[in-house]
Symmetry: C2
Subunit: 326 residues, 2 copies
């Protein structure tokens, strides 16, 4: 197995280099690709955020359903969203990429274009990574480095009983595309399901919530409301009550229609922010142009309850987001 | 494909948690596993180092030849060595791990044990990562975060014509094990080839060289002397001349014997430090207990020449380290 295939890898390396055109000087990335480590400089009094996310062919995407650019875009969005969920600002992105030998170069080009464009959109420089041959399918590990004023990070553990629960944007839009593709066994139009193919991290919303000290706990909805709210509850040692009627459901498809409540409760990969705030905090109905909706409140205990429009309560069990089932 | 297999992954997550027993307070890792990002705090006036390395089954290791603990040990050593090569100090390690469903839990336990033990040996805390199911083979991406006083990082680009070239320890020991396993198609004793199965990063050597301002450029010998010296030459815009006789060759096997010069010149994964120093710098013959050997000097031009014991010169072409050829 004479892997990694050096010609292909050298092309990617070159691409990474050329992507680094707007390397900031002084702060940010001091030295990038071409040394053993990248060197990052933080402004004084800031903590460093680090998050990593695997994106694997066949699990997180399918090459026949997802355009290469969308995969690159999605891949880096996952990391950007993790930084947003801490109230942080993206600084640098690292990509470890393993590619099958028969992968067309056009696919790699599209993937890198989607990734670099989205990273730069949110101020993150592609600063390094690693490449290898893959025995099977495209394997990408994204590492996002972010920055936040010292001690100001927003954790999952800060919620208290009585805090209100909010979510940005709408839920269920990404999962709706997956369901539709699984049902029809065909790809769908990226334009009709943009939340799945071009999700956006809520970096600006997170920054505002942190700067104005509005949120007590925060997470991004990468796994789905039921799972992510359970994380906040667990880390904060509380329960929660959610009003089914209040959940902002995404509109998808053509003609567009609202997704089912089930998708709003359990669908993942929307990359919205789910946060709590003390009851006396006034939360704007929009932050950085994104609607903010109050969906319930934190309670004593451990349980998460959903109240339906008739007022009856049922327990909301975390139902994980399983990506594709082939 | 109902992946990731949640039970297995939750076991790894638990293990990662328990590995975090000695979480340092104040500096270092502020918040680790259990939030969207890890939070790292640097002492004031320090730059952050980031490096990532893929370790893929079938390319970097074979499950039938390499004990699980050795794979975990090796995997994190690659990152630690990159930090050492910058003169940095390891702070935190992140692990993105994708596992095949049929992988025995004992393998995962051994891998994590080898990884965590080696990381802690060099002061790095396992601070997070990501887990997924793997469609094919074990996939591990290691991210090492290090720290270095601001502006004091040792780069590959600092060498000048006339600088002496040094290498720590011995070369060729790791590649000798691979050659032997490929020749015999059998595993070899990890004790007789410890450089391959338990390589050590030269973190302390790198730190001393940086603190005492002894080195002008530095890299670790992960790809092999010919390739890594070519990196220094390229980044520094120089050529080099190496004395074949001076190269410190590893002793391996049982009974132990010295490896061939070819392995000393081209064998990778020894994780020694290759560095240059101005001609007026007095370099100790040992640093942190590790022998340091002068093997040549930097020259004008682009070429790298080897001088054999008879004094004849030939060009040393970078000959990449290709891991396994199955």
């Amino acid at each position: 197995m004479p892997l990694p295939e050096r010609a292909l890898i050298s092309r990617i390396r070159k691409m990474s280099h050329s992507a680094r055109v707007k390397l900031p000087a002084g702060a940010g990335v001091v030295a990038g690709i071409g040394d053993d480590s990248a060197v990052l400089r933080n402004k004084t009094g800031r903590d460093v955020l680090v998050t990593t996310d695997f994106t694997l062919e066949g699990i997180h995407f399918r090459r026949d359903w997802h355009p290469a650019e969308s995969v690159g875009h999605h891949c880096v969005t996952r990391g950007l969203s993790d930084i947003a969920a801490m109230g942080g600002e993206p600084v640098a992105v690292f990509l470890s990429l393993a590619l099958p030998r028969d992968l067309p170069q056009t696919w790699v080009d599209g993937f890198m274009r989607g990734l670099v464009r989205q990273a730069e959109e949110y101020g993150a420089t592609l600063a390094g990574g690693d490449t290898a041959g893959s025995p099977n399918g495209v394997l990408a590990d994204i590492i996002l480095i972010g920055s936040v004023p010292q001690g100001k990070v927003l954790l999952r553990s800060g919620a208290r009983p009585g805090d209100a629960i909010y979510v940005s944007g709408t839920l269920g839009g990404s999962a709706a595309a997956v369901l539709e593709m699984e049902r029809t066994r065909k790809k769908v139009s990226p334009r009709d399901y943009s939340r799945h193919f071009r999700p956006e991290p809520r970096v600006e919303v997170g920054r505002v919530l942190r700067e104005k000290r509005l949120a007590s706990a925060m997470i991004d909805t990468s796994d789905g409301l039921s799972v992510d709210l359970a994380h906040i509850c667990k880390e904060s040692g509380c329960g929660a009550e959610v009003e089914a009627d209040a959940i902002p459901l995404a509109r998808v498809g053509k003609p567009s229609h609202e997704v089912d409540l089930e998708l709003g409760l359990h669908g993942g990969e929307d990359y919205e922010l789910l946060f709590t705030a003390r009851p006396n905090k006034k939360i704007p109905s929009r932050i950085a142009g994104v609607p903010i909706t109050r969906i319930g409140h934190m309670k004593r205990g451990r349980k998460i309850l959903v109240i339906d429009p008739q007022g009856s309560r049922s327990e909301l069990l975390p139902s994980g987001w399983e990506h594709f089932r082939e």
